[in-house]
């Protein structure tokens, strides 16, 4: 089954077409790298796939569900990592993760264990009880990564996942967000060297909203 199917996808902001005629087919388990200059609509595309934005036109299917009508079917099966960490500043890391866990229906009994495991996996156990406001951008990114995979999603939508991370952080990110677990991934990146080797397909977006899809040159 195709994890993502886009045909003639359009997304407009008033008069401006951020995305115009985007076509894409991504099979389950494949990785897609999305490249393009600033303002090409990469974040917009990711947000449409995440069901946060509705397509203005064209067809879009994510995990088998038609957008926007059946968007509710895929919520909870997507892990979204955006520019903002989506963390509440006045709560600590653990509380934030608990909140997300409950909103995604993780069983009460399993929550603590899962959170502890992920915090350890990103090296945040010691700072997990500090308010997010007190954490650096890199630490927030690590927490955001935990939040992203907390509910074991089938599809990862990652907007520049390495931002703010130091070298050890990037290693940890690679483990947690990598293609290893059979997940489908869409990665928006400004770092093709790092992500192209992992990609099965590459989508290049241009500033006028058009898109070009290619198979990755090397695996």
């Amino acid at each position: 089954m195709n994890a993502i199917e886009l045909r003639g996808l359009r997304r407009e902001y008033g008069e401006r077409a951020a995305l115009r005629d985007v076509g894409l087919r991504l099979e389950a388990g494949e990785s897609l790298a999305v490249l393009g200059p600033n303002g090409a609509g990469k974040t917009t595309l990711l947000r449409v796939l995440a069901t946060l934005l509705r397509p203005s036109g064209g067809e879009a299917r994510v995990l088998g569900a038609r957008l926007p009508d059946e968007a509710w079917k895929v919520r909870g099966r997507i892990g979204f990592l955006s520019h903002e960490p989506l963390l509440y500043r006045d709560l600590n890391g653990r509380e934030n993760l608990r909140f997300h866990a409950r909103l995604h229906g993780i069983e009460r009994g399993a929550i603590e264990e899962r959170i502890s495991f992920l915090l350890a996996a990103v090296g945040m156990e010691r700072r997990a009880d500090d308010r997010v406001a007190e954490l650096s951008a890199g630490m927030r990114q690590r927490l955001a990564i935990c939040r992203c995979v907390l509910h074991e999603p089938e599809l990862l939508l990652l907007d520049e996942p390495d931002s703010h991370l130091d070298a050890p952080g990037r290693e940890l990110a690679r483990e947690l967000l990598g293609p290893g677990e059979g997940r489908t991934r869409v990665v928006v990146t400004h770092d093709p060297e790092r992500f192209l080797p992992e990609a099965d397909k590459v989508l290049r977006l241009a500033v006028d909203g058009s898109a070009e899809l290619t198979e990755a040159a090397l695996r």
Binding site: A50, T51, L52, L53, R54, S56, P68, D69, E70, A71, W72, R75, G76, I78, F80, S82, E84, P85, L86, L87, Y88, R89, D90, L91, E95, F99, H100, R102, L103, H104, G105, R131
Partner: protein, 237 residues
């Protein structure tokens, strides 16, 4: 652009779970930062002082008492209403909630419940102060609490609805009071209508008490229903 075909009757995550999670998150954040409640309470008490001098009265009863008390509570409430969705707006919280497999009206219910809680706590502090400042007896406090509770429910519904829109606008702090005050007029009429005889000089009276409570109840019902019906549309993009 069409509306979503509608989530299943039972969303993946039950609304009660979502409701408790969001309400808990809000109350925890407020308890930790105390960014709204102390300000609201201080504002109210200072306003009482201003009224004392503005009206040149050291004791109030009947219509003046009802007016001063209600107007002050209403303006203090607006301070809290302005802050209600700020965390969601600034920290990407709207996204977080919209990504979750929940019925989004749970957000409306949770925020309204949080606002109701703030208003009740505010009144628990401020009404006794009002009584000490201006009233002769505490006989009316129990029925007064009932009237205020019903009025708070109406404010919680309309405040949550308007605040969720104002937070996404340019003139953020201005918009909620602007739209909310006229909207709160029927509520104010009913609340002060019921409170005025309660605070009469000779002792609490109950002239048309039941009718005013009915109007309050009607207001609450209408706007809770409106909020419930339209909130989903507010969170679309």
């Amino acid at each position: 652009m069409t509306a979503e075909a509608g989530p299943p009757a039972t969303p993946v995550v039950p609304s009660t779970v979502a409701f408790r999670a969001i309400l808990g998150k809000d109350l925890r954040a407020e308890l930790r930062t105390l960014q709204s409640l102390p300000a609201m309470a201080l504002f109210a008490v200072t306003t009482f002082v201003i009224f004392r001098f503005g009206l040149d009265r050291t004791s109030l009863s009947g219509d003046l008492a009802a007016g001063v008390l209600w107007a002050t509570l209403l303006f203090a409430a607006i301070l809290g209403i302005n802050r209600l969705f700020v965390a969601e707006r600034e920290e990407g919280g709207f996204d977080a909630i919209r990504l979750a497999p929940i019925d989004r009206t749970a957000l409306f219910a949770a925020k309204a419940a949080a606002l109701l809680a703030y208003l009740v706590v505010l009144e628990l502090v401020v009404v006794p102060v009002f009584a000490i400042f201006f009233l002769d007896s505490a006989a009316a406090l129990a029925p007064l609490a009932l009237v205020l509770l019903l009025a708070d429910l109406g404010l919680a519904a309309t405040g949550t609805l308007i605040s969720s829109m104002a937070v996404n606008s340019r003139a953020r702090d201005l918009l909620a009071p602007l739209v909310l005050l006229p909207l709160a007029v029927p509520l104010s009429i009913a609340a002060t209508g019921a409170i005025e005889p309660l605070l009469a000089l000779g002792g609490p009276g109950y002239h048309r008490f039941g009718t005013w409570l009915a109007v309050l109840g009607l207001y609450d019902l209408v706007f809770l229903l409106v909020g419930y019906a339209v909130f989903d549309f507010l969170l679309e993009d």
